[in-house]
Amino acid sequence: MIRVNGDPLDWREGLTVQGILEARNYRFPLIIVTVNGQVIAKPDYGTTRVPEGAEVQVLHLISGG
């Protein structure tokens, strides 16, 4: 189990940041992702593996209007 923006998400071996975004349907392009407080660069979303028990923050920057 990991937590994404405070909510639980099932963890699986090999889960990447990209996998989390897809699982959560987070499709907004202006985001900042941190895993256990560490900022993950966008090019690394597909290769960064997320450890079990991680605290993941997907910060959607404000937009609209």
Binding site: P29, I32, Q57, L59, G64, G65
Partner: protein
């Protein structure tokens, strides 16, 4: 992530220079032209962003007067919306109604407005007493008018009085002339009138770009929801384009004054017309920002390619797209009106902007639309946009997913002078009333206003433009329709009030707020009503979970409305602030505020005006105007807690279908938030529990937000807050004294 890839091969083959032309209308207008009065003035350019004078025009007596801009005006009200509110305050009394001659329309750009070094700097702010809300409304609009007015010599234009016959007010900043004219044979609707007047007042082809026209259309004569079109001449298309001062019925006030149009002919725009205090710094900040746009935008929001419509599919994905009068947040047909479609439909193949130097350039045009209905049936036109709000409001919120229907609705809203956001919410309300039997064929005069019936939607709009039938009722707006339907006994009053999406008399803009308490406040705890330009907090609150406590939400509802107010004091567009972000933003403290861009604004203000400010003073500048506007509302008999009340549809599920569409979420909330067992409850019991919980927390939010803002529990700014801000003028204190008691 959604990252729509642009495929040039999918762009429709449309000639952007082709459209119906209106030569006969131009000839007729020219032939009927009659000058009523001409007044000379001395054109001047700004010094450090200010011309230091404004223009007052009484359209009834045709009197013209110049006023000095005082240091106090600059210190307290800055410009733009601030100047508009200050002048309006002086012009009206608590008894003034929107259609009294003393009501004013004030147009002002702001000190930084008109610079060409940075993106999004060409805005005009328009302020008047709204026919919908009966309090001041402010609207932030692109196009060239505000900057050209300033470069002609005036920081603001006040329009007061009422003319006897339809008037054109022409301000010639090249020759130093103000002229009142009649053009009895001029066309009425903006897409023709703007074209005709631009060509009539330009002295040659090269002069076309120096003309900006402010106008509205036929519907503003017969409704309370009229808007104003602000034009600029698009050289590549060879036609006039428009941006809209949409909200609150400003176009209705304009027509009530018998103004047909304002025309400003400014000097040729150059980069230094504002005569800034520190041109080098402006240029440096601009170069840095333009590079950022060029490098980052293609990988971020693609504003240059898609404009604001890029969030249609985003809102759908996050269950935030208004569908069927804000009942639902997504729809399977959204792909028909998403940004991938608009990429192919907006065939300009290059970036597009509504003011010089804007590298974000998010304006778009859909060319080659052949109209199927109405007085311009068969004409080929260019439609600006659609912006996100238009696609969502005219589209999904009404169940319209045919893009050509959506464009035609957008076109007629624009040319008739109707706010697209307002019309979207008005029509969505009507369609839901039709769905629930509150309206029927007999009550609508034969219009089948079922979801998605664009033909009936258009016919209702044409009726409004003609001042006929049910269209005229639609033009009253949601608040007055609710009262009318209830008075007629057409349905359950509570249901009608719950689903009518208005607050203070203004219709909600196009985002679903019911799952974000902070956004419920962002809409309802506003000065002018539920427009998202004070605070858009849904991602912070609902998705990021950055605002877990009431105090966190209140802090956001303190900072963001003030930060965004500042754009309107200075002539800025909001979009360049946070629709692209700089590299390294993620490493900054509070990255959601885009701190580097906030610093840009601080530096742009200082470099233009020579007045050094910092981020804290930026917020203080806004706070003075924001709190003054709150007191202004109170002066007009509103502006208290009761006026911040929100319709229940904005807070939670009104109907069983709505509840069932999100049953898992709502049942879960009963368990986690209220310690109830939904399995042991009927649907009605669950809905009642939600209503009690949701309305209760909204009330608590009000308490905490008011406290953070320095207001009483009834929403009145305290003496201490007014003094702290330096707006404790005698006339301000006189307004709050009956509510606060005598100062200690």
């Amino acid at each position: 992530m959604i990252q729509v890839v642009f495929d040039p091969s999918k762009v429709m083959d449309i000639d952007i220079t082709k459209r119906t032309e209106y030569h006969a209308e131009l000839d007729a207008a020219r032939a009927s032209r009659k000058v009523l009065k001409e007044v000379a003035f001395t054109p001047s350019l700004p010094d450090k962003g200010y011309t230091n004078r404004t223009l007052h025009v009484d359209v009834g007596s045709l009197a013209v007067a110049e006023k000095p801009v005082t240091q106090q005006m600059k210190d307290i009200f800055i410009g733009g919306r601030g100047f508009g509110l200050w002048y309006l305050w002086q012009a009206v009394t608590p008894q003034t109604r929107w259609n009294d001659p003393e009501n004013e329309i004030v147009i002002s750009s702001g000190p930084v407005g008109g610079i060409t070094q940075y993106a999004g700097t060409g805005k005009s702010l328009v302020v008047t007493l709204s026919p919908q809300t009966e309090i001041p409304i402010d609207s932030n609009v692109g196009g060239y008018f505000g900057p050209l007015l300033k470069f002609s010599g005036f920081d603001a234009l006040e329009l007061q009085g009422k003319a006897e016959r339809d008037l054109i007010l022409f301000i010639d900043g090249q020759k130093g002339l103000i002229r009142f004219e009649e053009l009895p044979d001029a066309p009425v609707d903006s897409h023709v009138l703007g074209e005709v007047l631009t060509r009539l007042y330009a002295e040659n082809e090269a002069d076309l770009v120096n003309i900006s026209v402010v106008s509205t259309g036929a519907a503003a004569d017969h409704s309370l929801i009229g808007m104003l079109n602000f034009s600029w001449f698009d050289k590549r298309r060879g036609c006039v384009r428009f941006k809209q001062a949409g909200r609150g019925g400003i176009g209705t006030v304009f027509r009530d004054k018998r103004l047909r149009a304002l025309v400003c002919r400014g000097p040729q725009v150059k980069g230094d017309l504002n005569h800034p205090a520190d041109f080098e710094t402006l240029a440096k900040i601009g170069v840095k920002y333009h590079k950022e746009i060029r490098e980052n935008d293609p990988h971020q929001c693609m504003m240059r390619r898609n404009g604001t419509a890029h969030i249609v599919e985003i809102m759908d994905a996050y269950d935030l797209l208004p569908v069927h009068n804000f009942q639902y947040g997504s729809h399977p047909e959204t792909h028909k009106i998403d940004s991938a479609y608009w990429q192919s439909r907006c065939a300009q193949q290059t970036v597009d902007g509504c003011w010089y130097g804007c590298s974000m350039a998010c304006a778009k045009g859909a060319d080659g639309l052949v109209l199927k209905t109405g007085p311009y049936q068969g004409h080929m036109v260019t439609v600006d946009g659609p912006e996100y709000e238009n696609a969502a409001g005219l589209g999904s919120n009404c169940g319209v997913f045919d893009p050509d229907d959506l464009l035609e609705l957008n076109f007629y809203c624009d040319t008739y002078g109707i706010c697209t956001i307002t019309w979207g919410t008005v029509c969505a309300f009507i369609m839901e009333c039709y769905q629930r039997g509150i309206l029927n064929l007999e009550r609508t005069g034969g219009l089948d206003l079922s979801w998605g019936n664009a033909k009936a939607d258009l016919e209702m709009m044409h009726q409004m433009a003609r001042g006929e039938g049910f269209g005229r009722i639609a033009g009253l707006g949601v608040k007055r329709m609710k009262a009318l339907f209830i008075a007629n006994g057409w349905g359950d009053p509570q249901l009608i009030n719950d689903i009518g999406m208005e607050n203070k008399g203004l219709e909600y803009s196009q985002y679903l707020s019911k799952e974000s308490l902070a956004q419920q406040g962002g809409y309802a705890l506003t000065n002018k009503g539920p427009q998202h330009d004070e605070a858009w907090l849904i991602f912070m609150d609902m998705v990021n979970k950055q605002l877990p406590t009431f105090e966190d939400k209140a802090e956001a509802l303190y900072y963001f409305p003030l930060f965004r107010t500042w754009f309107g004091l200075n002539g800025f567009c909001k979009l360049p602030w946070n629709d692209v972000v700089p590299k390294g933003n993620a490493q900054q403290p509070e990255p959601h505020k885009i701190p580097e861009h906030v610093q840009n604004y601080v530096d742009l203000f200082s470099a233009t005006t020579g007045v050094k400010i910092d981020k804290e003073e930026l917020i203080n500048q806004s706070a003075r105007v924001y709190n003054f506007q709150r007191v202004f509302n109170i002066r007009m008999g509103k502006g208290l807690r009761q006026h911040d009340a929100a319709p229940y549809r904005s807070l939670g599920p009104v109907t069983e279908e709505e509840y069932l569409s999100r049953q898992e979420r709502y049942d879960g909330q009963l368990r986690t938030e209220l310690s109830l067992d939904p399995d042991a409850m009927t649907l009605q019991e669950k809905m009642a529990a939600h209503r009690q919980w949701r309305t209760g927390r909204f009330e608590k939010l009000m308490d905490v937000v008011y406290a953070r803002r320095g207001w009483t529990r009834d929403g009145v700014p305290t003496y201490a807050r007014l003094k702290e801000l330096g707006i404790d003028f005698p006339e301000v204190l006189e307004v709050v004294r009956p509510l606060l008691g005598d100062p200690a």
